[in-house]
Amino acid sequence: MAAVTTYREALRATLMEEMDRNPAVVLLGEDIGVYQGTFRITADFLSRYGPRRVIDTPISELGFIGAAIGMAMLGLRPVVEVMTWNFSLLAADQILNNAAKLRYFSGGQVEVPLVIRGPNGAGVQLSAQHSQSLEAVYAHFPGLQVALPATPADVRGLLLTALRGQDPVIFLENAALYGVKGEVPDGDAAIPFGRAEVMRGGRDVTLIAYSRMVHLALAAAEHLAREGVEAEVINLRTLRPLDGETVIHSVRRTHRAVVVQEQWKPFGAAAEIAALISEEAFDLLDAPVERVTGADVPMPYARNLELLALPHERDIVAAARRTLYRQ
């Protein structure tokens, strides 16, 4: 049985499912209770679960993310909502220096089963401080796991895995996807981390993407199909762990790869994946690996400039054509 639902509803329903099942799950965040959540993911949670499990916090990212880590160390399973990931930088020390490393520097005595979730990526005309993709920052650090669901099925599957694992998870949603619909299987639909999905088969070029960029890649593949180019589309789903095997397997067949990300080009996820392909499949490449990324600038406010700063379907199509030497 599968039901069609939205990305938002998948989040809500999965959180409820786990809160009903496991009393150790508590939520913390700004305005998640009385206000019902900035993106309404936690609407009605306060009345259902009470203020001990749905904790409205002050604007203290460092404080409440740190406190959530402490709760996790003592056996709770906190789920922190960051209003947007932009504000997580205030708690960077807690996430990167404590959550990511406690297991290691305690010699395995401590674990941190924590999920931090909220919207990542560009908004609409929110300019430089509110339109950032921070996955590469977090994916850089050993000890964290980084999940980026693209579809409602991803949301449920990845969140179930996050809520049942024993390590901290950076769960990056995308505000532009909250209304996206898709089929979500019921029952135990947990998607293990580190397993990419081939969303569309093709033999001419591999398009590798995650989060919102998966939808652009699928649209680009449609476009390419009309030109007679069959593009394979891979949805990575998690950056850490990264499913290099699915990527390499595909590139071995298509001999061409385009990696798509919304964030800045230098030192980003696409750079990591391009390097992986050159290490593992260099001999089989018929063209250099292409990267489609956001412009290397803080996000501008003006709508026309913002559109220039973001990757588009046409950029992916153009990159795919370049790998095929068809300009």
Binding site: V26, L62, L74, G107
Partner: protein, 340 residues
Amino acid sequence: MATKRGEAEVQSGALADADLAEALPWYRLMLIARRFEDEAERAFRRGKIGGYLHLYSGQEAVAAGFLAVLRPDDIFFTAYRDHAHAIFRGTPAGAVMAELFGRQTGVVKGKGGSMHIFDVGRGFYGGYGIVGGHIPLATGAAYALRYQGTDRICLCFLGDGAMNSGSFHEPVNMAGLWGREGMCPIVYIVENNRYAMGTAVERSTAVTDLASKFGIHGIPHERLDGQDFLEVRRAARRITAQVRETGRPYAVEAITYRFVAHGAADLFQPYRTKEEVEAWKARDPILLLERALRAAGLLDDGQVEALRREAQEVVAAAVRYAEESPEPPPEELTRDVYAP
């Protein structure tokens, strides 16, 4: 009437004696902790210990006074000056020393070193190297203890310097809020040793009554003489009982002093005078307790000598153990990053 009062006096005198007798094992542990720090510093000079080494000498009565009354199932967090805390809690000195030596037998298998002593089995949730970074963790941990329906409590030791960071103000405000619902059984213990490295309190904060800073977050607070074990323990008994009972936070500013440099690698201490250090040494917490025990007839020259010798032996054995322990095997490098 007169007889009654006389009886009460006799009784309280007996209580005071019992109180002192219970302090004897803590005198012993403080001797071991002090000796441990001295030997750690020597090992550092011999190149046996790497990295940073922050010693606790001079401040012992603060941790000892509080840990003396902590229940075995209670928990605590501290910063990087953390060896004595472990020893007071019963972690074998050898396991702490082996950690400083970077050995497999260290408390955290050689992966943390001096700044990250952990003994979770004994409720010690760690030493932390980022100033102030552990304060939010301890606050959340206290919440978890209440959420789970227990009457366990959490202690959070911190330095005066840590109070100037955002990671102090944010969680302490939340503790004040959560405490209103009885959901934050934590005692914040500021070890005010007057300096953050070389920066004196007066040069880092406009309000030098540090205890009062908890007041603005609705947390009751007091100042204590951190050199006097008996006073600290008396206050700790009262405070921990109250926090356990109410689930509300409480804060203490213990006025204390470190006799040693900020870290073993700092040779010069241009921020303070020899006279200042000497004046504080006259109030050495071990000496003060020793005097009280002698005055009560609970300790004599022979016993002091025997206990000192025992401390030397315990620590010498710890150093031997550390020295003879193997380094962590290469497989240890990649272990403990994620759940097995």
